[in-house]
């Protein structure tokens, strides 16, 4: 159920766009109104979520130290995994965000008779995760050729590199292949590993299916049921220059693609996909581990009721004197 439902939901979205554009001819709704709404929700929703997180303070310095601390000059500090400076934190965060360093540590625990526990290296999740995120980013950046009248050389270089092997016409993008393969793997592992399946929610399958839907419709319209590509760019350029147009004869599949992307943008700020912003705010990673060196201030630190020495001495004065302990009051 928790797998079927999100799957059916994505299929339903596809049919909705098909019916809306192909049958009901609501080109303006699916081509202009919904994309605008989705972009607005994404941008303002994202910022709103960051604002809500930012409103709560970080009361304590709680980095997870993953290496040797800074102590003596003769003991080598692990400056990336236990950073004591801002530079170290930047390095740690860069590795985390760009290369998924923590996930790279992943191990697989096995229990054999004896009992013998062993911890093997397990890099598949890391590799698939990294492949997915990076190809998604490159594909997104590649799409900027639809958003700009004169496409900068950098984008053309990215595109050139992505289609380096010059397979077929139009040229096959490596990232298309990698993205589909990685997402498929990520779906597959949720289904095939019993414990991962056990923890998965509909909210875990839905974005995977949705992204897969986006990738498939995108690939279809590039390689199979081709669309009027110049018309597509005209529509997109109309959107980004705030003078929307609906060119004729683009092809329904484009509107399906666009609708799925709009759904993703709408869904993004209210879902776990916000890990994109959240990873930057994780206090176990983004703080220097120097709390013995520099005092961390808690804005809501308040005085508490303590049991003072005076009260303590009052409780035990006789016993203390008998034991020969010095006391403040005789």
């Amino acid at each position: 159920m928790k797998i079927l439902l999100p799957f059916v939901a994505v299929i339903a979205l596809v049919f909705l766009a098909y019916a809306g554009v192909g049958v009901a001819k609501l080109h303006f709704l699916f081509g202009v109104v919904l994309p605008y709404a989705a972009i607005a929700v994404f941008i303002f929703g994202f910022i709103y979520r960051m604002f809500i997180w930012g409103k709560s303070p970080v009361p304590f310095s709680i980095p997870t130290t993953a290496g040797q601390q800074k102590s003596f000059p003769w003991i080598k500090q692990n400056k990336l995994d236990n950073p004591s400076s801002t530079l170290g934190v930047i390095g740690r965060m860069a590795l985390e965000v760009l290369l998924f360093r923590s996930l790279f540590r992943n191990t697989k625990t096995e229990l054999r008779d004896g009992p013998v526990l062993s911890y093997g290296s397990e890099k598949f999740l890391w590799a698939a995760g990294l492949a997915f995120h990076w190809s998604f980013l490159i594909i997104f950046v590649r799409h900027f050729r639809f958003f700009m009248q004169d496409v900068p050389v950098v984008l053309q270089m990215i595109e050139g590199a992505d289609s380096f092997f010059q397979v077929g016409a139009p040229l096959l993008y490596l990232t298309d292949v990698v993205l589909v393969a990685a997402v498929t793997f990520l779906v597959f592992r949720r289904l095939a590993m019993p414990l991962i399946k056990y923890i998965s929610l509909p909210a875990d399958y839905f974005p995977l299916f949705l992204i897969l839907g986006i990738a498939i419709t995108g690939i279809l319209m590039r390689y199979v049921t081709k669309v009027h590509i110049v018309g597509v760019k005209e529509l997109v350029m109309g959107l980004v220059s705030f003078s929307p147009v609906i060119p004729d004869g683009i092809g329904v599949i484009f509107y399906i693609h666009l609708f799925l992307v709009s759904t993703l943008l709408l869904y993004f700020p209210m879902s776990k996909l916000m890990h994109f912003g959240g990873v930057f705010l994780s206090p176990t990673r983004n703080m220097p581990a120097n709390s013995r060196e520099v005092r961390h201030v808690n804005p809501w630190n308040y005085p508490v009721h303590v049991h003072t020495y005076e009260e303590y001495e009052n409780d035990f004065r006789d016993k203390m004197k008998k034991a020969g302990l010095p006391v403040e009051k005789e």
């Binding site: 102590s71 923590s102 009992p115 414990l195 909210a203 209210m270 013995r292 508490v304 303590y312 203390m320």
Partner: protein, 535 residues
């Protein structure tokens, strides 16, 4: 364990999840895996709400009428106070990288002990009551109403987490279950749902200065006994001071070291070392606890207990503080103390009076770890050591969760051990340093009624010890944590019999050649030294 499963039975672990979804699988509170409920009298001492005697195994938990309201209001409050809590409630993608990193999951196979699911128990309530999607879609969005069985389930699994943070190391977003457990336990304390093993020590520590409730004269008696033993072994009578104003250094260590073997040998080790150095230091009976069980109840309680250390340092007029070997004590001292009760501007940046080394890394807290202090002494050749006295010991070292992942104190204790022992072997790399496994009994889970849980949680650590025992003949497990010294003794006896559990400063004191000492026949435990067995 007197009764309960044998090691062979316990090691028969099934990692297959149940057929039913976790939200539809009721939790049964099992004997041997939970601690007794807090007693009213202990909670009353520290003015905690809803104090009453209660029993987790009984149907009626005697909750206040409006317990849901209290819980949810408390949650809202914590979400506003802690960005960590809010972010960690929102951004988990359930990738499962943390799943098999938890010692309790590895040892029990209970899927609700996977860190991700332990967090989801609370997260489901969060989604239901604090997110738009959850309010509209409910279960479809992973939301779950806070019912009595849900509350009991959350409670049960919050007390099957030792806040060791191993999961947080592997999480791609650094989601720290320790943080979630701390929030959850704080919420439970609003409902009086504490455990006896935590609330008792907290009340003791509040009134008497230490978890064990040792009154001033009892502390002195205990140390007196150790001094006698030291004299028997070394021929030297040492004379530590208590509550002495004007001393240069205040020494604070977990009270466990004053009370029970093998912690007492570590305490003897500190005293022998300090005596040999002629260190101008004092003990305090008021701040006679380095550990902080308050940390396992609420942030406020932890602060209330911790305040004594700086207060006493100020009253006695010392220059700085040395802290003994303890685990969560050092998480508190490193990441919390200065924020709560600082700035300690009445103290000075610690400088070793022996070597002149300035401890810049502690220039704000003004409190250094005793292994930092000792490693510096050894590096500067200030100690005369005879490591061969430890030749009977084939040593491995267990990193405490908190000193490893909340501090990064990894190489200092190793440096000391390698200088005071001739035989040292590391456990497998996935079980040490930042990847270290918990003893299985931290955060106040070191009671006796939950022994099955403790032994399950202790399996990964014990198994790594067993590996080096079989591989290299390791027979000694060194550590720098009072709870380790107590709990690893139990889990070693269960999983790897014949393993000695020892503090690092016990090893130091064994090897330490003291001025004017007689020829030593035995180690601190009274066991004959290598080559002296015949005497």
């Amino acid at each position: 364990m007197a009764k309960g499963p044998t090691p062979a039975e316990l090691a028969n672990i099934d990692y297959t999840p149940p057929q039913t979804e976790w939200m539809d699988t009721p939790t049964v509170i099992k004997t041997g895996t939970f601690c007794w409920g807090a007693k009213a009298k202990n909670l009353n001492i520290v003015e905690f709400p809803n104090a009453r005697d209660w029993n987790p195994s009984e149907e009626d938990w005697k909750l206040p009428e409006n317990w849901q309201e209290i819980f949810l209001k408390g949650m809202k409050d914590l979400l506003g106070k802690y960005r960590s809590f809010k972010v960690f409630m929102d951004i988990c993608v359930r990738c499962g990288a943390c799943a098999d990193k938890c010692h309790f999951f590895i040892g029990s196979g209970d899927p609700k002990n996977m860190p991700v699911l332990r967090a989801e128990l609370l997260r489901s309530v969060y989604r239901n009551d604090f997110t738009m999607a959850g309010k509209i879609l409910g279960k479809l969005a992973g939301g779950r109403k806070l019912t009595l069985p849900v509350l009991k389930e959350i409670w049960y699994y919050l007390y099957q987490c030792t806040e060791c943070r191993r999961c947080s190391l592997f999480c791609p977003y650094g989601i720290d279950t320790a943080e979630i457990t701390m929030m959850g336990r704080e919420l439970m304390n609003l409902l009086g749902l504490n455990t006896d093993w935590i609330s008792g020590p907290v009340a003791n520590c509040y009134m008497k200065g230490n978890h064990l409730g040792l009154e001033p004269h009892a502390i002195m008696n205990s140390i007196e006994g150790m001094i006698d033993d030291i004299e028997t072994i070394t021929g030297i009578r040492i004379n530590p001071s208590f509550n002495r104003k004007g001393a240069e250094i205040l020494f604070v260590t977990p009270s466990g070291d004053l009370f029970a073997d093998p912690g007492t040998y570590t305490a003897m080790g500190y005293m022998m070392l300090f005596h040999e150095l002629g260190l101008d230091y004092t003990w305090s009976t008021y701040a006679s606890e380095g550990g902080n069980f308050g940390f396992f109840t609420s942030n406020e309680m932890a602060k209330r207990l911790n305040s004594k250390i700086y207060a006493e340092a100020k009253r006695l007029g010392v220059k700085y503080i040395i802290g003994g070997e303890c685990g969560h004590m050092w998480r508190v001292l490193t990441q919390y103390m200065d924020t709560w009760n600082g700035p300690a501007d009445f103290l000075e940046v610690p400088v070793s009076p022996i070597t002149g080394t300035r401890f810049e890394n502690a220039k704000s807290t003004k409190m250094i770890h005793v292994t930092e202090f000792t490693a510096d002494l050894i590096k500067n050749n200030k100690l005369k050591l005879d490591p061969s006295r430890n030749n009977g010991l084939n040593v491995t070292y267990h990193d405490s969760c908190n000193t490893a992942r909340g501090m990064g104190l990894l190489d200092e204790p190793r440096y000391i051990i390698k200088n005071v022992c001739n035989t040292f072997h590391e456990m497998p790399e996935n079980t040490i340093r930042e990847q270290t496994f918990c003893c299985g009994s931290g955060t106040g889970l070191n009671a006796s009624e939950n022994m099955e849980l403790r032994m399950r949680g202790g399996l990964p650590r014990a198994n790594a010890v067993k590996f080096v025992k079989e591989q290299y003949g390791v027979n000694t497990l060194a550590n720098i944590c009072a709870i380790d010294r107590a709990t690893l003794s139990a889990s070693m006896e269960y999983w790897v019999p014949g393993t000695r559990v020892t503090g690092v400063h016990e090893l130091v004191a064994n090897a330490l050649i003291m001025k004017g000492e007689k020829e030593r026949e035995t180690d601190l435990r009274g066991d004959p030294l290598p080559g002296k067995e015949g005497n």
